[in-house]
Symmetry: C2
Subunit: 344 residues, 2 copies
Amino acid sequence: MTHTSIRFGIIGCADIARKVSRAILLAPNATLSAVASRSLHKAADFAKSNGFPPEAKIYGSYESLLDDPDIDAVYMPLPTTLHLKWAVLIAQKKKHLLTEKPVALNVAEFDEIVRACEENGVQIMDGTMWMHHPRTHKMKEFLQDKQRFGQLKTVNSCFTFFTDPDFLKNDIRVKPDLDALGALGDAGWYGIRSILWAADYELPKTVTALQGAWEDGKKATFHCSFLTSLTMSITAIGTHGTLHLTDFVIPYQEQEASYTASAKAGFNELVTGWKPLPSEHTVTVDLPQEVCMVREFATLVQNIKKKGAKPDMKWPTISRKTQLVLDAVKASIEKGFEPVEIVN
Amino acid sequence: MTHTSIRFGIIGCADIARKVSRAILLAPNATLSAVASRSLHKAADFAKSNGFPPEAKIYGSYESLLDDPDIDAVYMPLPTTLHLKWAVLIAQKKKHLLTEKPVALNVAEFDEIVRACEENGVQIMDGTMWMHHPRTHKMKEFLQDKQRFGQLKTVNSCFTFFTDPDFLKNDIRVKPDLDALGALGDAGWYGIRSILWAADYELPKTVTALQGAWEDGKKATFHCSFLTSLTMSITAIGTHGTLHLTDFVIPYQEQEASYTASAKAGFNELVTGWKPLPSEHTVTVDLPQEVCMVREFATLVQNIKKKGAKPDMKWPTISRKTQLVLDAVKASIEKGFEPVEIVN
């Protein structure tokens, strides 16, 4: 296998390179052949702690690895700001390029990189791993099923993770001179890709960034239609936890209803997985939700009739706020999709 | 129980009134006492087919039901355009009001209705059933858990359903003179309510309606952050089917990964439930997704090295489109959240 297998060199010892080293070791047609760091010592440590074969080469500079004639392809987990320089050099050295995302700081840089690859006849691919999961292909079959899925109308995608103070201080993804695109270039790359994936890579005509809708920067979106498949989902994301459910308006069943809660979850850097896994919670129901509603209303009326209470303002207040936002959405549509201030 | 129980009259025989009739029958503190329709015959039919007790009264006009001194509360499933007139009259007749949503065509009308209820000391509540499900309270406990959920940052909510040609031609919800707010007033009411619910009813400062991003009216949103709980969800909605998954970037486990597909689902009008239920699909994995990625890349490189193939443009083309959209999002932020055209 080694004979026909593609020999990889890695430039840079980022955390993500550990996962990709393992992937190169496990791939049937790839060989882990070399690693380079600006420090020879760091490169040697990386090779040792990531299961590199004994014959793998250790380099103290990226250039020396690129000059090695026994390397076919380079995996580049460098900060985005360095991509243009190194990607072009990798191509000029006739090495194929597997690069971390975002590929570049902008499309102009991207096009320079791809031009260099084309001119030198080398392959380029970005490292968006989930695109290659067998599940992704199965899901695509469903989205392409005209009978079962029909025509795509809406996509919502979220990718967020909570980082520790050390990340927010030191990670390259928050350094404007290293990964200048920050969360947009990192987590946002996945969101954009997932939308394009679902839309068969048809580019949207217009793109609009969304401002925080609340003073504290909170954001929310909703989608409603009479023209698309029955869907009733809420994803609510907090600093530490996430709530998911997919049947909020009318539960799947009358006797019980479930939701998923995830709290302080993290993902593994090396082996695919989450820790802890989200927990599923099932609530058993004595009475259907509409009966709970009638019971609640009748109780409030009983309080008025029997106890001389005043009408309770909780529910009308909630209704009114709903109506206020609804009015504002309508006004925004009528004003050509301009932001509308909520005046209470 | 009947003695202290709240006696309900229903004005109008809409489909949703069947579900609420059943709820009134099942509620421990409510009695189904009367139904009115503009046609006495229709009212009698409705009472008969919805299990009304033999002593329930049948009225051929809404007014006559409102004049009945043995009715405490009225459930109003009328078209929204008629709400103001009838809600005010119901309040003036000292009947408590359970009304279908949207409560009114706009906040000005809403306030007139609530003023009438206040002046007459009657309770008003809108019929948003899921608010009263025990699950909703359990989920709220999670959202309010500062340790596990933290501070709310983002909500996405979808409520859509696919309707048949008959609905699109004849249902009151597509008639501007009956339910003038259409899908926004019906399905949108739930989306807005779910966002306010998650945000503890704190009103947003600004609201912006979103235009279709693609020529065919498709829309998509994504959210990315380094400051919120680990979340990786895609909801893709087609005319007939819906795809949900909550671990698209990094699956929960390395050995298998799942998603949920729903096709041509409907919900019951009477008993809570979906038909058919969404199906869960689990894909078993031979190699982790990053190994599949390396294998795919190495295969493309092998094609070039061994077979003299040209570099494959599939992946760079997908990368470039991702970068193009990313550039446009960044440009939109820099332009103060204006729409930005994608120029390819």
